[in-house]
């Protein structure tokens, strides 16, 4: 399946664009997404942390992703 992956902060810099189409196996989980990203973009391993938000909620690794989900990469936040 194809998902739309949105990235902010340093995650956007690493990926090179705000939004990208990203190919994942059907019924892939958030954990699967992170593994594939670590393979495709080795710079992610240098980050303090990387979280995934699905439909504006922080998602756990075992959450299954659907093609229509809003999937967003959340590098370490630093608001305030």
């Amino acid at each position: 399946m194809k998902i739309t992956l949105v990235s902010f902060g340093i995650a956007k810099d690493i990926i090179g664009s705000r939004e990208m189409e990203y190919e994942l196996p059907d019924s892939a989980s958030v954990g699967n997404l992170l593994e594939k990203l670590a393979h495709d973009y080795p710079d992610f391993k240098d980050l303090t942390s990387i979280r995934v938000a699905v439909n504006t909620e922080y998602a756990k690794n075992d959450q299954v992703i659907s093609p229509q989900d809003e999937v967003v990469l959340i590098p370490p936040v630093s608001g305030g």
């Binding site: 949105v6 902010f8 810099d13 980050l47 504006t56 370490p76 936040v77 630093s78 608001g79 305030g80």
Partner: protein, 144 residues
């Protein structure tokens, strides 16, 4: 300038934040104490001169997380009103990045709730700041 009374309690804006407006939002006739935290842009970090800060926000989720903070604070303390305003975009030294204001019947709770809110905001709200130096830039907290 926007009419003071029309600001929402939870708010993200590219325009300068208004402390007086945020205070007015939480004022209450049956509360004796308001605590306000204001985060401003420092001119240096770890001894290095900062030129400006650029804030990026995942607005939709950031607003939800800010709402959650307000809800959790209400569960812990007898809050009358709580407002959280965050700036985004490019901020000069001294500009206000965040304002949190909490009104409670007695003062101790206002301090505790306000500190809880800013501590939690810095952990959970998807907003990122990039420090711009004269010779480079860095996303804050991105690397260990």
């Amino acid at each position: 300038m926007q009419e003071i009374s029309t600001y929402p309690l939870i708010y993200i804006s590219e325009n300068p934040l208004q402390p007086e407006a945020v205070i007015d939002l939480v004022k209450s006739d049956h509360c004796g104490g308001i605590d306000v935290f204001i985060g401003t842009v420092r001119n240096q970090t770890k001894g290095k001169t900062v030129v400006r800060l650029d804030f990026e926000s995942y607005d939709k989720m950031a607003l939800r997380e800010m709402e959650k903070i307000a809800r959790k604070a209400r569960e812990k303390w007898p809050i009358d009103k709580i407002a959280i305003h965050h700036r985004k975009g490019s901020l000069a030294i001294g500009e206000i990045a965040v304002i949190i204001a909490v009104s409670t019947p007695h003062r101790k709770a206002s301090f505790e709730a306000c500190q809880f809110a800013i501590d939690t905001l810095k952990e959970t709200v998807p907003i990122w700041k990039k420090e711009i130096f004269e010779d480079g830039e860095v996303w804050v907290a991105a690397h260990p």
